[in-house]
Symmetry: C2
Subunit: 341 residues, 2 copies
Amino acid sequence: MQEERRLAVLRAIVEDYVATEEPVGSKALVERHKLGVSPATVRNDMAALEDEGYITQPHTSAGRVPTDKGYRLFVDRLTTVKPMSAAEKRAVSTFLDGAVDLDDVVQRSVRVLSQLTRQVAVVQYPTLSRSTVRHVELVALAPRRLLAVLILSTGRVEQRLVELEADLDDDALADLRVRVNTVVTGAIIADAVTALRTLAAEPPSRTIAPYVGPVVEALADAMSDHRSDERIAVGGAANLARYGDSFDSAVRPLLEALEEHVVLLKLLGEATSGGMVTVRIGHEGPYEQLSATSVVATGYGPHDDALATLGVVGPTRMDYPGTMTAVRAVARYVSRILDEA
Amino acid sequence: MQEERRLAVLRAIVEDYVATEEPVGSKALVERHKLGVSPATVRNDMAALEDEGYITQPHTSAGRVPTDKGYRLFVDRLTTVKPMSAAEKRAVSTFLDGAVDLDDVVQRSVRVLSQLTRQVAVVQYPTLSRSTVRHVELVALAPRRLLAVLILSTGRVEQRLVELEADLDDDALADLRVRVNTVVTGAIIADAVTALRTLAAEPPSRTIAPYVGPVVEALADAMSDHRSDERIAVGGAANLARYGDSFDSAVRPLLEALEEHVVLLKLLGEATSGGMVTVRIGHEGPYEQLSATSVVATGYGPHDDALATLGVVGPTRMDYPGTMTAVRAVARYVSRILDEA
DNA sequence: GTTGGCACTCCACTGTCGCGAGTGCCAATG
DNA sequence: CATTGGCACTCGCGACAGTGGAGTGCCAAC
């Protein structure tokens, strides 16, 4: 009974603090939220909550502020799903539907996500390693030169120039093309690479033997190209300007992190699929300097495969319910678009 | 005679102010720069400089600060070329030489430029419209489906999927490939597009007539794809953290501008080729809100064609000589790399 | 034209003080 | 035993005045 009210008080504190950015006191609380009890009672509850480490006061005789632990409890148990407004839904769909290719999808996602949440949005490009090969094309550019084109299930296209050591005729090229595609089409990247290497190690026909090596190398290179794994789009950095206070402690390290895509990737963490949104609050993250920022992220990809991750980073003091639904919605929508492609 | 010393005083003021970020007074000036005259004399000169609008004082009885006009004079007439240190040169070359493709070149340029200048660096991707076509490849993916690959002189590769309305045999494909390449190879984009349209309007052979339309459309689309024109890479935003003061007035609008690539493009301005570095100081720029920021930019591209622009944006109070040489050096180096490719 | 002297200005900094929001504790109450 | 009103206490914050110092402008002398 009292326990229940205590949680209500915590929720109220979090909500008010997020809204006002100021430590919230007992009196203001009972005024804004009809708790049906007196300020004194709330004070008792607050003292208890502080003992348990959910809230803290910046200095004696100031209002209370949620701790990371308090936000955690709030997110885990007190969050009521906040549906998006019809207007917002419409905005997401119309904006994302205009995308013409994968690059564009990612760019637009970043944009819509940052505008929706008024935070910094981060979208990872679909990872190669977990996508599958749709098709491989080999194009003769010159007798000893060909272009290897790799088309993936995510819509990504990679190409590599291949220099050969012997002239290539059309028949051999056709043979090679068929052999390679038989082996890799439909396979996930990791498997495709090993399959290709076996092919190169034991050429199944003498016609292709002289060429299979360089071609396989080029393809394997394109497949395991880690630069693509690390690609990330960032948007809404201007929202950092709203931090106002706590510039050095919060904005500076975050700005630096935004440049270091490796750090960002680590921040986003493992992709979780199936509509689950991960929330990492303050010090729970792997970086000491980012102890004042939270990350709300989720995986996305066609057929609910979590190919990549998208989310937002912002101050620990953020609107978690709203942000979570926005992230979830954008992830779903992007996944659906990738399904169709 | 006095005129000469006055300019020396202005130069000293600019240098000191850039170094210390604080209004500079007459006494401090004669101490730091061996001007050979007394503070009183300097004061007279300062009064004159203020009358002419080159410097100003934030409030009565404070030191002087250069105005935009003062910086302009400094940049135009007082700048002594500041050579880069051997270490810096080495850093630029080793860092940029590691680039594997155009994307990588741009990314690395942004990085090295922002680190060199400790400012926000902006690099525009080489514009399509002024580059030339190296090669067009057409790849049959299915009887009625082919991939059109466009390879440009800048190293950029664009591809488009083309759906046909009639089955395509190998002979027709080969014919089409030859015809297209004859028309566009070596041409600059603008010419290539018109040449393609003529080809589509008057098909020179009946074999290719049913296919030339969609293929030409796809290629023309890829060529005039304005999204690529607008592509820009930004780096070093973390350097904005050093602004410290004047956060709202300077950092916020700049952060917003960094997201709006259209604005950035306009800021960078027209590409100027041939080692000329453009400096735009404060209010000289097209945006009222960015009246506290300067832009140092120059064009770059293979064979000294100014295909695109790169530069840095920062506070009007910046180290112009150092920034200018850094921008010039990076532009030259990138141009040379594009030459080789 | 240059210089030293001098009076003046004004910002930045410091210390003091009162206000108000908020707390913790306690005794009273249902 | 949870809740409540009362009350004394704490402490941050804004206002205010006083002070020191850097810098200026002006002037008379060289």
